[in-house]
């Protein structure tokens, strides 16, 4: 009798949002507790993430809702408490604020405040950031909120492979996860492993580029821009290390601190507004733990402290560009 050898299924070039959807499909096949709800998910989702789900799993597991974010997040919390593994796409991260009680009180605190210990899987997708003229109420980066309400885990993928691997990790995670998907990356493509157990562990950063001149700490939409800036600066003899955090809760402090201790300089870059963004916490923590290894202050680069204007040209001026990142990194190494 012939034994079948397990073949490496290899990888495929697919889009970032589609890769999230691929993890959803595979986990829905594997675990009948997983289901998806949101606005327009039964017709494939606004940004293609849920394409094909309803055809395969039917209306019972792919539920369209009214425009009712508080209900959507609340029903997810209740189903998770009852042992299901719900996924909700909030449409835009901005809309998730309407469901503040359900996400930041109920999902984050329910087990803690009841002194109850049980696996509680729930994935809340926050599509975040600018997508070219979506306006001030459709473009914010609210990922820092998940860091400020203990009890949640928070991820922000920057590649299609990570979008898939982190989504699978979130669906196998016994804690609620805020899954921040970057809108500007939604249609970018990348090689994605097809192994149905491929996972990117939550809490593990990736060193995208090694270097000695300084450490750039970034995530989400700014990761590719930082890499581009690092490639520019390499021509000038500036050799940056680029760390893609991938998760904000838990945050891979070990990778961050090890890198900064070695390069002695750090720059945090994110798309969220600069004031009280994730960068504030990261910079503070680095100086607390690695102050005597530093040659320069930790710098932060984020969006201007304004609601993003709908005019796409003005919007672009608010968000760190490759040129600005490169300029800030140049400043960092000369301080």
């Amino acid at each position: 009798m012939k034994t079948e050898e397990k073949q490496d299924p290899g990888s495929q070039l697919i889009g970032y949002n589609a890769a999230m959807g691929q993890a959803l499909v595979e986990e829905m096949r594997r675990d009948d507790r997983v289901f998806v709800l949101g606005q327009g998910v039964a017709t494939g989702g606004w940004f293609g993430t849920e394409k094909g789900l309803a055809a395969e799993f039917g209306a019972e597991r792919v539920l369209d809702t009214n425009i009712s974010e508080a209900f959507q997040a609340g029903v997810v919390a209740g189903a998770a408490i009852a042992g299901m593994k719900p996924v909700v796409n909030m449409g835009f991260g901005d809309f998730a604020l309407i469901a503040g009680d359900e996400i930041f009180h109920k999902l984050a605190k329910w087990r803690y405040m009841h002194g109850d210990n049980f696996p509680m899987t729930a994935v809340v997708i926050f599509p975040i950031g600018a997508m070219g003229g979506a306006g001030p109420e459709h473009s914010a980066c609210s990922e820092v909120l998940g860091m400020h309400y203990p009890g949640l885990k928070v991820v922000v993928p920057s590649t299609a492979a990570d979008a898939k691997g982190l989504m699978r990790a979130a669906l196998r995670e016994p804690n609620p996860v805020i899954f921040n998907s970057s809108q500007s990356l939604g249609w970018t493509k990348g090689q994605v492993p097809m192994d149905t157990d491929f996972i990117v562990p939550i809490g593990q950063a990736a060193i995208r580029r090694t270097g000695n001149s300084g450490s750039v700490i970034t995530y989400g939409s700014m990761a590719p821009r930082c890499l581009e800036a690092a490639a520019l600066l390499a021509n000038e003899g500036i050799d940056l290390e680029v760390i893609d955090l991938r998760s904000l809760v838990p945050l891979d402090w070990n990778t961050v601190l090890t890198s900064v201790r070695r390069t002695h300089r750090g720059l945090v870059v994110h798309e969220a507004v600069r004031t009280a963004g994730a960068g504030a916490e990261i910079a503070a923590r680095i100086q607390e733990e690695a102050f005597f290894d530093l040659e320069a202050p930790i710098l932060r680069l984020g969006a201007k402290d304004v609601p993003l204007p709908q005019n796409a040209r003005l919007e672009a001026l608010c968000i760190p560009s490759v040129t600005q990142i490169a300029a800030e990194a140049r400043r960092l190494v000369t301080l």
């Binding site: 209900f71 029903v75 209740g78 408490i81 009852a82 719900p86 803690y112 009890g151």
Partner: protein, 305 residues
């Protein structure tokens, strides 16, 4: 039912005395006068039905089968409490093994959670029903509407149970509500809206049993409104300057007396005595129980395998 109601009442007495003696640092919200609602409704529930309750009194948790021990332990912040020492007045009792799922202390926040549990039951075809218990003051919440729109459309096994005592803390409901009854809202969702005498546990039981049967049979949600009387203030110590209690309580019918009328007096007396002994014993045990270790602060922030 009478025994459980007597237990809930005795806890009220003990907590009244306890807060008066200023040994209590918490936020106790007395439930005296409203016991028939929780006791009558939970008597119609299966053990595995899902209960999401609001924070006044103890009758919902007692009715669903929680013992006084973990309740007092929680109120007094002791390790014997349902929350293992994190509590302090606003109840967060939960015991999923008997369907006590928990309480949302941002009032009126359990509507979508109960719907989520109901959805889980429907998807798993377990014939479980979820109950969302709330006060009249939170029927104006957006999630009341958002949730019932979906629950009615999807025919979720969900029961909305309103305890209408006429007051939102100190604001009279009639000054902020356009309808005479909360149950009137049901018409908009094409679901039954049932008004029941909340001082009468048997009437509450009957209305609840009908709603549960309908939900279990796939008929969808029901909105029950129990007209109840809040015997005391919103919180322990509330001077109630907003309320003419003498006039309002002139014709007050105590829910224990109402149920007692259908019983042998000796049998009721025996249950009273039994309840008193149980509750006093649980209270003394909670007083004697240790405070939690500081490490409880970090407990169950994330799942502990």
């Amino acid at each position: 039912m009478y025994h459980r109601m007597a237990v809930a009442r005795e806890i009220e007495h003990v907590m009244f005395k306890h807060t008066r003696e200023q040994r209590f640092s918490g936020w106790w919200h007395p439930g005296e006068g409203q016991e028939a609602a929780g006791i009558g409704a939970t008597a119609a529930m299966r053990t595995d039905d899902f209960l999401f309750y609001q924070g006044r009194g103890t009758s919902w948790a007692i009715g669903k089968g929680m013992a006084p021990g973990p309740i007092f332990g929680d109120l007094l912040g002791k390790v014997t409490g349902a929350t293992k020492g994190k509590g302090g007045g606003v109840p967060h009792w939960a015991d999923r093994s008997i369907g006590i799922m928990g309480e949302g202390a941002t009032l009126g926040s359990v509507y979508p959670l109960a719907a989520g549990a109901a959805l889980a039951a429907k998807m798993r075809k377990t014939s479980q029903v979820a109950l969302a218990n709330f006060g009249d003051g939170t029927a104006a919440r957006g999630t009341f509407h958002e949730t019932m729109v979906h629950a009615a459309a999807w025919k979720l096994p969900l029961v909305y149970f309103c305890e209408n005592n006429g007051y939102l803390v100190g604001t009279k409901l009639r000054s902020v509500c356009p309808t005479e009854n909360i149950a009137d809202f049901a018409a908009g969702y094409h679901i039954p809206g049932v008004i029941v005498d909340g001082q009468d546990a048997l009437a509450v039981y009957d209305a609840s049993a009908t709603a549960f049967e309908r939900a279990r049979d796939g008929g969808g949600p029901t909105l029950i409104e129990a007209k109840v009387v809040r015997r005391h203030g919103h919180w322990a110590g509330d001077p109630q300057l907003y309320r003419d209690t003498d006039t309002e309580l002139r014709n007050y019918r105590d829910p224990l007396d109402v149920l007692r009328a259908s019983m042998e007096p000796a049998a009721a007396d025996a249950l009273d005595a039994k309840a008193m002994a149980e509750v006093r014993g649980a209270y003394e045990a909670a007083i004697a129980a240790p405070e939690p270790e500081e490490s409880v602060i970090w407990q169950y922030l994330y799942y502990e395998n």
